[in-house]
């Protein structure tokens, strides 16, 4: 229902705009332009003030919480496991077009909702993607935004550190670790991965 409402907000915008195509001049056109401006401003203000996102009328909600010394920062860290059993932290663009932080959220929220066979299928797919990205990195090719535009490319807005090193051996497993730490404490190092929350091995 809510998605239908959001769609109708967007369709209302398009309808008001397209009405201008049939009115080239005069007071009626001015009236229609005013209606379009008022509609865009109102829909945007409702999204912004009430914090009800209806993209592309958006609430622009980012970095809104208060940070304190005891605020917890949590991260799901993904590593590939090569045939020798070594762990390699995956580049945040390994699962392109889905960025690392989006996949983190999906893993935290969705993985446990899946039945065992569907979970295996999802993790198997992610391992395939991680392996394809490993091959690219290992052969000296770029990953993520840089593939076509090189250094001129636009990165994802959250600048997670890149992981240029990749195993020369194929990945046969994928692990996810959950790490949390207080704002006023140093983050766990790359070696201290955190608590293992899933592991998938190629069958």
């Amino acid at each position: 229902m809510i998605e239908a409402l959001r769609l109708s907000v967007f369709l209302g915008f398009v309808w008001l705009g397209l009405r201008l195509w049939t009115e080239d001049t005069g007071a009626r056109r001015r009236h229609r332009v005013n209606a379009l401006i008022a509609y865009v401003a109102t829909a945007s203000v409702i999204a912004g003030v009430l914090q009800r996102d209806a993209w592309p009328f958006t609430s622009h909600t980012i970095a809104v919480g208060r940070a304190r010394a005891d605020s917890l920062v949590c991260q799901t860290r993904l590593v590939g496991v090569d045939v020798k059993g070594a762990e390699w932290r995956l580049d945040p663009y390994s699962f392109t077009p889905v960025f690392d932080s989006i996949l983190q959220y999906w893993l935290e929220q969705a993985l446990d909702q899946l039945a065992a066979d569907r979970r295996e299928r999802a993790l198997g797919f992610l391992l395939q993607r991680a392996e394809a990205s490993r091959e690219r990195l290992a052969s000296g090719r770029s990953l993520g935004p840089q593939r076509l535009l090189g250094p001129a490319a636009a990165p994802y807005w959250l600048l997670l550190p890149r992981q240029p090193a990749a195993s020369l051996e194929p990945y046969v497993g994928l692990r996810g670790y959950r790490a949390c730490w207080r704002t006023d404490a140093p983050a766990p190092s790359a070696r201290e991965q955190g608590r293992l929350i899933f592991e998938y091995r190629r069958r």
Binding site: V33, V40, P56, S59, A67, V98, F99, Y105, W106, W157
Partner: protein, 285 residues
């Protein structure tokens, strides 16, 4: 009072403007969209992701954006059409139609990047303003190069600039709603910078976090910049000052927090391109 308000409304939205600013706006949003899309060259590949990954998105959210299980080849075809329509709009070919096609396809593809997680930050992906702007440009009269000044060249640009200003104004409202004025304090910024440093390792984070006075100044500056943003529609002089301040603001965020603002080039929408055009085309004395 009513007449004064109507005059103010007309001055903001319908004072005659030359075509150059609207042409520049079209070029800027097309270049911006192409820049983001060419930086995400495999967006349609999401169509190949197994159904398991769509569990958070549900059924209706994808449908809202026309993501209805088209075969990957069809999504790739649409992606090519999107690029072609953006190039056509950039060159001013079949202006209204190419802008409309590009806008509709951006509306379809922009959510791809985050739809699996329910689109938490699609607004910051760099395609929100191009999507809205291309719709507005498709509704408006296509500007003719060297055409006479017209109110028809003013309102679309002012509307696009207002949408740009909302990128700043609404985050301020959100901060005030969720954290109140306490968000804009040195202490909050200190811990916010520290918390993000652990994730992004931004180069100036630790140094800034150690400077309480600087944290306080940055917090106050953030409030002022974000709350005053809508004034860019009212005053060209303010818009130019805002452009410079916003550039510094985003550079600071990049270095201190590690957030990149993909819509940064769209700040050029605040440049008075009409005046620039007149100055460059005026015969020298």
């Amino acid at each position: 009072m009513k007449a004064a308000l109507r005059d103010a409304w007309d001055r903001v939205w319908f004072r005659p403007a030359g075509p150059m600013a609207l042409i520049a706006a079209r070029v800027l949003v097309c270049v911006q969209a192409l820049w983001i899309l060419l930086s995400r060259p495999d967006l349609p590949d999401l169509a190949r992701w197994p159904e398991e990954f769509w569990v958070l998105a549900g059924q209706m959210l994808p449908v809202r954006f026309g993501i209805v299980g088209l075969p990957p080849a069809a999504e790739w075809g649409l992606f090519v059409v999107l690029h072609l329509s953006l190039v056509a709009a950039l060159l001013g070919l079949w202006c209204r139609l190419s802008c409309l096609v590009a806008a509709l396809l951006l509306y379809h593809f922009a959510p791809f990047e985050e739809i699996l997680a329910g689109m938490p930050h699609t607004a910051f992906g760099g395609l929100t303003l191009p999507t809205m702007a291309l719709f507005v440009l498709s509704f408006a009269e296509a500007p003719r190069h060297r055409g006479p000044a017209s109110p028809e060249y003013r309102w679309p640009l002012a509307l696009i600039q207002l949408l740009l200003a909302f990128h700043y104004f609404f985050p301020a409202l959100a901060k005030l709603r969720f954290s109140g004025l306490d968000w804009f304090t040195a202490e909050n910024l200190h811990y916010y910078v520290l918390g993000n440093h652990a994730v992004t390792a931004a180069p100036l984070a630790l140094w800034v976090a150690r400077q309480p006075a600087l944290c306080a100044a940055l917090a106050t500056g953030t409030l002022l910049l974000e709350v005053c943003a809508p004034l860019v529609v009212v005053s060209t002089r303010f818009a130019h000052a805002f452009l410079a301040a916003a550039l510094a603001f985003h550079t600071g965020i990049l270095l201190v927090i590690g957030y990149f603002f993909p819509s940064l080039p769209l700040l050029l929408l605040l440049v008075d391109w009409d005046s620039l055009g007149r100055r460059t085309s005026a015969p020298s004395a």
